[in-house]
Symmetry: C2
Subunit: 338 residues, 2 copies
């Protein structure tokens, strides 16, 4: 049966499902492991310790300047693995599709996922497709779950248990772009300059820093909840505090503008290509230079420091000489930005 | 904030998300790996080869006789790993929740997942929560992705490349229960006897067969598309065929009744606790006895055989002496049964 829309039968496990898998998913995601088409994928793992992470993506709209739900679904999971110190290797991809969804849009998204996976050097090895009736989901949701290989020397990065006063805090560029790109697109704001999402896989950039021997103590990508939430979590309940300098933070002019217009604080707006990196004091300059040499870290800066005072609290020193506490996002600022 | 319903803020990544994670997910799923609460879970893997599988669950209704979406989300993924010959070990759990969903129902489902995971001896090590606006998803969808450890001697089970004429086909009980339990519940059919889903984790039963040294050639669980679809796929494009005996198949009386009433063929109705197992001819009796000694295999039987004739085709010898070809499910029989 030829159709240009997703039918309920595409999720039945029968012949339509098989057609969809072979003509779309296998075609674009093809690799020797996926092509076996078993209920499970068989993976060679050259390590005794692995890292595993999962994320569902429900972003609205599906397409936005700088990316789409497919690119986001790869980058989000790749970055979660990379910030744990692991080398991302294998991903699963599970689709929940609304009946009637245009096949052309699905193909565009699948192609975007394949391209991003290739860039990040990860393989999509297993998948699932479910179709729900019209009105029972919003167009398309994607879950990706990832596995990365963890080197013994990096296994303490994930827990952050080596963080200590004096460690420097780095950030690889401007904040707030992803959330505001979604917001502008959703509200069809007519802006003079388009805001582009920072959505990107950061694993290669992070690997450069680790491979250079920089003593990385902790990393986290500043997604939902924004930079402020990450910094708050970083010190919460710990026997150290942190201070960052507002003057060291970068916010693009257009992002600043729309934030002011709509009443958002860029510190709480989601990013999809920003990593907060804590490194040993003596390695900060080296790490900064490596970040700045990467396409996703050109605007990197040292934004602050771990301190032995005000334990458990994160402070920002404002540009006008004030001091403000950084809290976690409370309530909902922007639903469905990822 | 005290609330008995899911709010959009529960998916924001901020403080409400944290409350939900600690008061619900961590409380019930607790284990040392999950409790670290990193972006990724760190897993010790005592093997060089692992098996990975993913499934999203969109079953409607969420609660049904014999199970609920939570139990199903564990059993479905555990079984996909087990039929690949792997020992299921770690699961991720990702929730997409509709705004306004009752927290009490979510807790009931989470408790059900925790109980089933305990039975199957698997650990939920990482998770994700997204909340979408009212009307943008149907109550609750769950994705589980699983990792299992694969023993070298079982690595050929997944591909089925050792299957040959003479191999016997076993099934661990009656067919059609899951699909018809969902159907009856959905349509509020007033049946004299309740149909109970066969939803169960089969990994321990399968392990008994493997550990006894039975030469298992291939396994698959007969879920979406039913037994017929699995048997069709098993021989499609292969240089062997198969024949099964209708008289060896079991269909519960109530399942038969509702299938006739609503015009379904039990051969195409989904199961969630049935495994099709191909074993070496000489090991069939031994495998049968092991299956029958297990709570989920009491009604196991040898249903047929791999044959060297009618290559690529699956036949059923009917009880009245006829012969019918088994095809794949075409179109949609029953949407959202898993």
């Amino acid at each position: 049966m030829k159709t240009d829309k997703i039918l309920l039968g595409h999720g039945s496990g029968g012949s339509l499902t098989h057609d969809l898998i072979s003509s779309l998913f296998l075609k674009h995601f093809t690799n020797p492991i996926l092509d076996v088409q078993g209920d499970s994928a068989l993976l060679d793992i050259s390590a005794w310790e692995i890292s595993m992470t999962t994320d569902s993506f429900v972003v609205d709209p599906l397409f936005f300047p700088g990316g789409d739900i497919g690119k986001l679904a790869i980058a989000g999971t790749v970055n979660d693995l990379a910030v744990s110190g692991a080398v991302p290797q294998y991903l699963s991809a599970a689709f929940i599709i609304e009946e009637g969804f245009p096949l052309a849009d699905l193909e565009r998204i699948v192609i975007s996922m394949a391209a991003e996976a290739k860039k990040a050097n990860v393989h999509i090895v297993t998948g699932d497709t479910k179709v729900v009736e019209r009105g029972k989901c919003d167009k398309l949701f994607i879950n990706t779950t990832g596995i990365g290989i963890l080197d013994e020397e990096h296994e303490k990065i994930c827990c952050g248990c080596k963080v200590e006063a004096g460690d420097m805090i780095l950030l690889n560029g401007a904040i707030g772009n992803h959330g505001m790109a979604i917001m502008a697109e959703r509200n069809e704001l007519n802006l003079s300059a388009k805001i582009t999402s920072d959505c990107a896989c950061l694993n290669h950039m992070i690997a450069k820093v680790l491979d250079a021997g920089v003593r990385v103590k902790f990393m986290r990508d500043a997604t939902r909840g924004g930079l402020s939430t990450v910094l708050h979590e970083l010190v919460k309940g710990k026997d150290f505090g942190l201070e960052i300098e507002e003057s060291a933070l970068k916010v693009d002019e257009e992002v600043q503008g729309i934030c002011e217009l709509l009443g958002f604080d860029p510190m709480y707006v989601a990013n999809e290509g920003k990593v907060v990196m804590l490194v040993h004091h003596d390695d900060a300059q080296k790490a900064l230079e490596i970040l700045q040499s990467d396409e996703f870290g050109k605007d990197a800066s040292i934004i602050g420091e771990i301190v032995g005072s005000h334990l458990g609290k994160a402070y920002i020193n404002t540009s006008i000489g004030g001091k403000r506490i950084l809290d976690m996002l409370s309530g909902e600022q922007l639903p469905r930005i990822c």
